[in-house]
């Protein structure tokens, strides 16, 4: 089977453009999905490791949302700290 690379080289400029746009869209989506999986991985342990059953109760749900937002807050804070160090 030909590699994607080989196949792309057979495309017209127009068609390559379309493939490129597709890749950009799909990879942006994949990036979000992979972030979500990693956040879930992180927060599930903190919020859902005690209770049994397959449902997520209200307390756990609130914990998950808080965990996600705290992580994102930390991320933003760290970026600000690094930015201020560069000045």
């Amino acid at each position: 089977m030909e590699s994607v690379q080989q196949q792309v080289s057979q495309l017209s400029a127009e068609a390559q453009k379309e493939v490129l746009a597709f890749i950009q869209k799909e990879s942006a989506q994949a990036k979000i999905q992979s972030s979500v999986t990693s956040f879930t991985d992180r927060c599930f342990t903190k919020c859902c490791s005690e209770g049994s059953g397959s449902t997520v109760n209200a307390v756990e749900e609130q914990c998950l949302r808080g965990c996600l937002n705290a992580f994102l807050d930390t991320n933003i804070k760290v970026v600000h700290i690094l930015q201020s160090m560069q000045k």
């Binding site: 994607v4 196949q7 792309v8 057979q10 495309l11 017209s12 127009e14 068609a15 379309e18 493939v19 597709f22 890749i23 799909e26 990879s27 989506q29 994949a30 979000i32 999905q33 992979s34 972030s35 979500v36 999986t37 990693s38 956040f39 879930t40 991985d41 927060c43 599930f44 342990t45 919020c47 859902c48 490791s49 049994s52 059953g53 397959s54 449902t55 997520v56 756990e60 749900e61 998950l64 949302r65 996600l68 937002n69 994102l72 933003i76």
Partner: protein, 100 residues
């Protein structure tokens, strides 16, 4: 790929008209790319699930798993997926906020 409330086929966008053989090749490439991404996604999900549910459900590792452990893994997986959806929803709504 439409999995866990994500994606769905949005290939209805208007594209410049390509000649049929080119279009066919473009579609083939798109398919392969999507296949690759789906595989990567499934792999990371399986890894995250295994890690979390193994830690949660298996206290004294032995083979084969007993009924309680099997049951626990089923519940844990369902719970993880539900958590995934909650996180996904919160994350996307936060991304959509201007200040993030």
């Amino acid at each position: 790929m439409s999995f866990l409330g994500f994606g769905g086929n949005k290939s209805t966008e208007t594209t410049p008209v390509l000649d049929p053989t080119q279009q066919e090749l473009v579609n083939k490439i798109k398919n392969e790319i999507q296949q690759e991404l789906a595989t990567g996604y499934a792999t990371s999900l399986v890894n995250a699930l295994t890690e979390n549910c193994f830690n949660k459900c298996i206290q004294k590792p032995k083979h084969p798993l007993n009924n309680d452990e099997e049951r626990c893994i089923e519940d844990c997986s369902g719970k993880f997926m539900r958590s995934w959806n909650i996180i996904s929803q919160s994350y996307i709504s936060r991304i959509n906020q201007k200040d993030l």
